[in-house]
Structure formats: structure tokens, C-alpha cells
Symmetry: C2
Amino acid sequence: MPEGEKEITIYDIAARLNVSAATVSRGLKDHPRVSKATKKLIIKTAEEMGYRSNSFASNLRKKQSNVIGVIVPRLNSSFMADVLAGIEKVVNNNNYNLFISQSLESMQKEASNARAMLNSRVDGLLVSVAYDTANFDHFEPFIKRNIPVIFFDRVFDHESCPQIYIDNYKAAYDITGHLIKQGCKRIVHITGNQLRNVYSERFRGYKRALEENNREFDNGLVIINDLSSKAGTEAAAEILKMSPLPDGLFVANDICAVSCMQALKKEGINIPNDIAVAGFNNDPTSCVIEPNLTTVNYKGYEMGEVAAKLMINHLVDKYDLQETHSLILRSELIIRESSLRNGDGNVD
Amino acid sequence: MPEGEKEITIYDIAARLNVSAATVSRGLKDHPRVSKATKKLIIKTAEEMGYRSNSFASNLRKKQSNVIGVIVPRLNSSFMADVLAGIEKVVNNNNYNLFISQSLESMQKEASNARAMLNSRVDGLLVSVAYDTANFDHFEPFIKRNIPVIFFDRVFDHESCPQIYIDNYKAAYDITGHLIKQGCKRIVHITGNQLRNVYSERFRGYKRALEENNREFDNGLVIINDLSSKAGTEAAAEILKMSPLPDGLFVANDICAVSCMQALKKEGINIPNDIAVAGFNNDPTSCVIEPNLTTVNYKGYEMGEVAAKLMINHLVDKYDLQETHSLILRSELIIRESSLRNGDGNVD
DNA sequence: CTGAAAGCGCTAACAC
DNA sequence: GTGTTAGCGCTTTCAG
């Protein structure tokens, strides 16, 4: 396609070597039935002539792209960046390529991205759904064609799609229990769209912990927003208006928790003594904010690796996806100063 | 390729409609010389039959992929994630796809990624080079084939490759000047591999600011490391051993600056009064650390957009790349408490 | 405005 | 171990 010379094909190599194109094709791969000598010669000549394989032709012929598609809500979140790094590593090491696109938290964009992935014929799709994704329609074409779709973190329930996530319920249950043990009586919970498992499960864990400790659940203590940094600041204002002032706060992500803490501190609230705070995600900012934020750690990088490995195994070994429907990864409660009352260093 | 039905092709549509495949092909695109009526009919039928275009065949025929490749040092850095988000938006809006891979700061991996990109026939390549990239060999095949390569942020000098970056020299010059105005006499500079423009230019700006203010440059005050969080902690130990203790610190990125600050604070150093500190990048942690970190802001998102737009313009309009060799984006000094002495609120 | 036909470069079944 | 052959699905001259 450039100006000067034409692109070299296997036919050019074949002509130069007086063999057939088929032999060249075989030689370039590691086909067993081709002699060491010719194989070596072919590879050497290819190099010399500046050959590059034409993946279009090969894909067309083989009906597979060696490409895995990824759709995430946003690329620029610390957690997602970690996940992608994990995915990239595994995918790259297995000689697959990665198509990446972001839904920007909109189901509509997610659908259009899915369509693009379908047309570019990805061999498999890894998805973490958008904030407002309410149905599965845009993934149906993949299922119909037996193209594997795997959900991670923000999963969508569908029988043919494996899902990878952490036990959000239990983590939230534990962290709320921890706040209760610290003596919190009225614990505010800030969370996001309840359509998303990650938020509804955390909410469920929070409620359950209250119940088990004979605390009454008070809907007035629940704030639902988009968990952004800005929302955290606004939530702080809301909290300050509550009376009596709550003495505990569990936010469903760290970004929002941190900005909320900053706003509360600015108003003279002492953390943890006035209000003990816990977040979720172990964002880098959580150990920079003072006091350091109690949170739930789960490794995005690992989640990315696991998701990608599951996909690759299926694609390469025809490993049956149906066998593993859910993969629940480990998460851990990290207790820091933001929730530790009165120098009580007891970590449970 | 799945079990059930075969994949629909334009021939199937053609047969159903009693027209030729050529007409279907034209109808599906927006070819001018096809009647509105048949065009509409073709599109409708395609939809009904569950047709999806075969990009392999089309790419093979047209000799272009509609894919843009991106190679970055790492995906999981706040700055790169922003850049990628910007790139993705532009690329996606223009109906291109995005191949993304990471070099993990190794030139070797970068080269292997470049080879993969070459083989998958990306139409253009966007690159921010690895920590130790020392030569251009792995990009030569692109140049030879007239495949555009554009560098951003960490650029590599090559006459046929446009570069997009900020004026690192001036930003560092300004921030060092600011520290000097705050009364700093002995300013430590922590920086990275001098092979990389971003670090060598910042170093140059630091030196120049010292010169102009008749401060002697002291190589003993320069620490070169990998600018990681861990390196910041180690650098703090080094600084604490210096005598007399320096009274200013300019770190070439925020991640390292923040961890260094944390370690210094732990040793009882007062920031900014004992040591005034400045970073670079405006990382999210920079306005969480206390005192908030003075830094240089430059928007990764915008840089991504600009890089992608330049690429797309070139690809679509055949806009001549040679005309814009360098694109220098705006950056701004953000002065916060970490460098403001004695309640002196003078910004400048 | 539409059709016929060739060919993009590769792979795989089948021969030998 | 190697060659022959056909065809993957599309685009695009060239004709009409």
C-alpha cells in the first residue's frame, strides 16, 4: 500500500525458493510435516524479503481473528486500568490481540461498541457493564453465534455467560460489622445504581450486618448517587444536615469516600471519632488521605488475568465455559485509621 | 462458525433479492449510484437475515484495517488511562478500532508489540516509548511502508514521526523558579531515565532556573531512579542523610513525590517549612496528600484526543503529517500548600 | 443504476 | 515431505 515496493506474499517467497505457496505457509507456522531444512530456509528468506503475514487473508480463511474484545465503563479509573493491565498481559502472552472500548457508563454506547466488536469479529468478549445497562439484547448476537461473552466485576446474569467477581455481599457485611464493633450506632451508606450487582450486593451486606447486630435499618441513612468525587462532596453536605449526626459511614467506593472525608474534615468533623469511615476498592488515594481509609482490597490486575485466562482457555483448548459459571475472587478487609476509634488497635 | 446456521453473506442477500452481490455491497455502503429504493430494501433485508459484514474480506480487499494501534509503557497509570480514554473516544467516534498493548517499560516488549501491530496491519500507530527504548529499529518497518507513527508524551525524535508533548522544560523551569521564590536555597531534584525527553527536559528546566537565579547546580542534589512509589520512599531516606538538609524538592512525577512526602513527614520533617515540595502530573493523589502538592497539570485526556485526531485526519483526509511535526500542548503550574511558605499566599 | 468477473493472500483437504 | 486446488467474502473495475 505504500509508494515504493509491493508487499511481499508467500507466493513471492515460494517463487524465490522454487517451492509451493503451501509449503511456505506451512514452513512459517510450525507445521510438523515439513523438513527442518526447508523450514529454516523459508523463515530466513521471509525475513530477508521483509515479509509480513497478512492477517486478513489468514483470518478470512480460518474464520477467526485472534482478537479479544473488551468493553468497560471507563478506561480512566484506577481499578479498570489495573484490570486492563492484567488482561493485556495474558492476552498478549497468548498471541491474541486486544480491542478495547469504553461505554462511558451508557448502555447505548455499550450496545454500539458491542456491535462494532461483532463486526470486527472478535473471538470473544470481556465485559464489565455500564451504570445503566438494563438488558442483554446487544449481547444476544454473540450468544447466537457461540462467541463467548464473559462478565467481570459488574456482571450481568445470563446462563451462557460466566461471571467473575468478588463476594461483594460478604465484604460489605464484614466492613459494616467492623464499624459496628467500633461502636457506630448510626451508619450512613452511600451507594450507586442498584441495577449493578456490585452496589446492590454491598447494600445487601450492609443491611444484613445491621440486622444481625439488632440495629434497625433506616432508609434515611442511605444515599444513592453516582459515587463520583463530586457526589462525595455533595453527600457530605447531606450528612452534615442529618440530626443526630451519624457516627459511621460506609461508602461503596473509595473515590467518593475520600472526597466525602475531605469535605467532612473541612467542616471540623473528626474522623474517626465523630464519624468512622470505610470505603471500597483500595484506591491509591485511600492510603494517602489522612486518616488512611479503611477499605476492601481486591486486585483488579488479578481479576483481569483471571478473566482473560478463562477466555483464552476456552478459545484455545475448547475448554467448556459452561463448567465454570461463576468465579469468585478473594477480597480482604483493610482496616486503617479512618475507622479505628480511641487508639483501639484491635483489628478484629 | 457456530453450530446452527451459517453466517449470512452478501450473496445470500443478493439471492434473496434477485440482485447481484455487487449491488448489495454497494447498497450496504452509501454508494451514490444505487437507487434509494434498492438501497433501503437491501439494508432492511440484511437486518432481517442477521447479516454482519465480514471485515476480514473487506480488509483484505481494501488493504486497510480501520484499526489504530497504541503502545504505551503501562496501562495502569492514572495519566496513561486518561490518555487512552481520550484516544478511545476520538477513534471510536470515527469508526476506527483500537488495538492496545503495553510495553511494561521494556524496549524488548515494545519491539515485540510493534511487530504484532505490524502483522495485524494497523493503519497507524500511536506510541509513548518505554523507559529504556534506545533506538528506532522496531518502528522502521512502519516508516518503510508509510504507516504513520505518532509519538506522544514520551517521544522519540524521528523526522517522519510527529510528536505531541508539553513543554517539559518550561514547566520545570517555572516550578523550580517558584521554589526559589519561596526561599529555597538547596533544591533536590528527583528524576528518571535521561533517555526520555520528559525527564531530561524537566531536568534541563530545573538546571536553567538555578542558573538564572545564581544558584550553583549541585549534582549531589540530583537523584535518578524509576520514579515509582517505592523509589520515593527510598529517596526520602537519601534526602534525610544529606547535610545540610535541603530545603526544596522537585520530583519529576507525583507518585514518587507523594510517597517521598509521606516518608519525610513520618520522620518529622515539616512540609513546606523545612522542605518545600513540588511534583509533576497532577495525579489524583496530589490533592489528597497533606499538604496538597504543588504540581504541573497537563491533561492526558486532551493529549490522547489530539494524538488520535491527528492520526485520523491523516488517515481519512490524507492530511499531510509532515506539516505538523511537533504539537506542544498547554500545561499549567498548580501551586498548593506543599510549597507555600509561612502562610504566604502569593501565587507567583 | 446494475451485473459479471477477477482477485486480495492465505489455508487445508486431498493427492502423491 | 511437498504440490494442487479451491475458496473464504468482499470490492471494484469494466461493461452495459
